[in-house]
Amino acid sequence: MITINNLQKKFGEKKAVDIEKYIINQGEMLGLVGNNGAGKTTLFRLILDLLKADQGNVTINDIDVSQSEDWKSFTGAFIDDGFLIDYLTPEEYFYFIGKMYGLKKEEVNARIATFERFMNGEVMGQKKYIRNFSAGNKQKIGIISAMLHQPQLLILDEPFNFLDPSSQSIIKHLLKKYNEEHHATVIISSHNLNHTVDVCPRIALLEHGIIIKDIQNENNSAEKELEAYFNISVEEEIKEEDEVTQE
């Protein structure tokens, strides 16, 4: 499905992404984890052709994303507010997105109905523009809009952010179900290790733009490995800080 070839992106002197070869297969559910600045969002932007790679390329179904727009018809994504047209109501936004993918209003309504529990009665029929919604509800609108046309590739950056615990639980269930029912490739990034481990059978650990570990997560086996990595990182940092203070 997705092939990353010798992909490099620098911001000034800092390497944000540096991946030699990475393949994500059709129907896989991949979790991307890493500390702030590890390069998760940059990698997503490169996959979605929203950033220019300094070197290398990304192909989706053998289509080079920077050379053709054909991959866009079967890809859905939500990264941040820059995806939302905030002067529309959620209904208008969903119909607009639906129209872009050739969906009729009735079809959009039917698809939105499957997200009823997730929206928890706080999104539809509110007679409010998206800009006036809470961060959590904006997140829900963004996620639903990415899934509306049932894409074969779904990319979500930090989907659990701003969501209340119930909504986090529902979206985990929805994503799993979506992956299974549509045999779609789903890629999410998250700081929440528990959620990532719960949802993703494969996890890529990113550090300074490099995938340092590609973990097969069978029966939540990745949990300990990830916890060890992140705890050690923190411990190392504290130790370094202490040494500096002592000096």
């Binding site: 979605l48 950033l51 866009k72 820059g82 995806f83 129209k99 409010k128």
Partner: protein
């Protein structure tokens, strides 16, 4: 937007100063007799732009500063706000032209200082009315009663003394009459004390107010359904224009100015000279495009990632914009009908400029879609930081107005009005008929520059 207003005011101030040349009455006397109207316009203009000190107090309320001091500070800041000086763009050129010859530079100086002080008084009068109206809507009757009373005093008697009083006040300012200045300062002080007393009691009411974000009526524009994806983008563009502060302000401004110019041209003799007539015709047709298309894609910068992650959405967006703004040309055309009916303008002239604008002018402005890469905040306040246009944007905007004006002068003086109109129609039609081709070209060039543009949009998003 501020630059536009300043430009208009300089233009009006200059033309008004010359409007009564050769008449028995001097233009500054005419203006002075109507000072109350200027104050009324200023009062109305403040509604969309000005915030109340009680609305601004929130970020400071937890600071270790007394509430009285805080209100004093915010009232002083409001008095010294640049908005109170914007009328000087009108009065300074006006005074230089019409007053210098009688009273010298000193007269201009004292007159302008006096006008500025009167505007400060008007500022506090506005704050008082607005604060009270925020509490109870029926307080709207206060400014209505005051302005209605003044209007009645001006127009009901055969010879109203209020006009003379207004002229005397203006003359006193020009002559630097100390009593006139002290009177204005006392009036400001009284208004200050009233504002201060009222605001002190209302600070917490204002803080506790919850903004009602419910939309009362959601427009569907169902007639656009039949136009497919392009219709959907036209719907989006209409909503962009009507639901965001910056676009609404621009729309109001342009309609106000076009209506004003059209009415003056149709029903007065002020702009009957050939040069001015041509200027107004070109201006009225071109201004729509300049105001909205010179920032092409900059509004979309707010959600460019969403657009770019969908196939060919930018091409459809460009086509929708072109169609919509081509239809919008009907607005200045309709507004020019009175001028056509009164015989001030030829129908063919108006048709030719409408076609030329849709064709040639829009072609030039659409090139900016390739190069604009700064996001414009759709709901920025007048006083907020704005991403104003770059050099190329200003150059193209200036050229799209200046070049047609020049072309009109050259053609008119060489081949005459009739042939000029047909030349403009032919040029415009060529660009209209080839619009699909050049819009596609703009789209391809945009896509070539997409990384640079997207980076710019992202970096300038607020």
């Amino acid at each position: 937007m501020g630059v536009f207003w300043a430009g208009y005011l300089i233009f009006f101030g200059t033309t008004f100063a010359y409007a009564f040349a050769g008449e028995a009455i001097e233009s500054y006397q005419v203006l002075n007799s109507g000072l109350i109207f200027v104050l009324a316009i200023d009062f109305m203009a403040r509604f969309p732009f000005q915030k109340l000190p009680t609305q601004e107090v929130k970020p400071y309320i937890l600071l270790p500063v007394k509430r009285d001091r805080l209100i004093d500070f915010l009232l002083i800041r409001s008095g010294l706000n640049g908005f109170n000086a914007i009328w000087l763009f009108f009065f300074v050129p006006f005074a230089i032209i019409s007053i210098t010859k009688f009273y010298g530079i000193a007269g201009v100086l004292t007159y302008c200082i006096g006008i500025w002080l009167i505007m400060i008084f008007n500022n506090y009068w506005f704050l008082l009315c607005r604060t009270l109206m925020g509490e109870r809507l029926w307080w709207v009757s206060l400014p209505i009663a005051v302005y209605g009373g003044i209007a009645a005093g001006l127009f009901i008697p055969n010879k109203s003394p209020l006009f003379d009083y207004s002229i005397d006040l203006g003359e006193s300012l020009i002559k630097g009459n100390i009593i006139a200045f002290i009177s204005i300062l006392v009036a400001i002080a009284i208004m200050w004390i009233i504002n201060r007393t009222i605001m002190k009691g209302l600070v917490y009411d204002e803080i506790n107010k919850v903004e009602d974000t419910k939309v009362k009526h959601v427009s569907e524009y169902k007639f656009l359904d039949r136009y497919g994806e392009v219709g959907e983008y036209m719907r989006l563009e209409l909503k962009l224009l009507l639901r965001n502060k910056v676009c609404k302000q621009a729309l109001r401004t342009v309609i106000l100015v076009v209506v004003g110019f059209s009415l003056v041209l149709s029903f007065t003799d002020v702009y009957d000279g050939k040069g001015m007539k041509n200027f107004i015709v070109v201006y009225n047709f071109v201004i729509f495009g300049i105001l909205f298309l010179s920032s092409l894609m900059s509004y979309e910068g707010n959600y460019i990632d969403g657009l770019m992650s969908r196939k060919e959405s930018i091409y459809n967006l460009l086509r929708a914009k072109y169609t919509l703004y081509s239809i919008a040309i009907l607005l200045p055309f309709i507004l020019m009908i009175p001028a056509i009916a009164t015989g001030k303008l030829a129908l063919l002239t108006c048709i030719s400029w409408a076609i030329f604008s849709i064709g040639c002018v829009y072609f030039c402005l659409f090139q900016l879609a390739v190069y604009n890469n700064k996001t414009v905040d759709l709901n920025a306040k007048m006083t907020g930081r704005r991403n104003i246009g770059g050099g190329l944007q200003n150059l193209i905007a200036g050229a799209t107005f200046g070049v047609p004006l020049l072309l009109n002068i050259i053609l008119n003086s060489t081949v005459g009005q009739f042939a000029t109109s047909w030349t403009l129609i032919i040029i415009g039609s060529v660009f209209i008929l080839s619009s699909n081709f050049w819009l596609k070209n703009v789209y391809y060039r945009f896509m070539k520059r997409r990384y640079k543009n997207m980076e710019g949009f992202r970096d300038s998003r607020q």
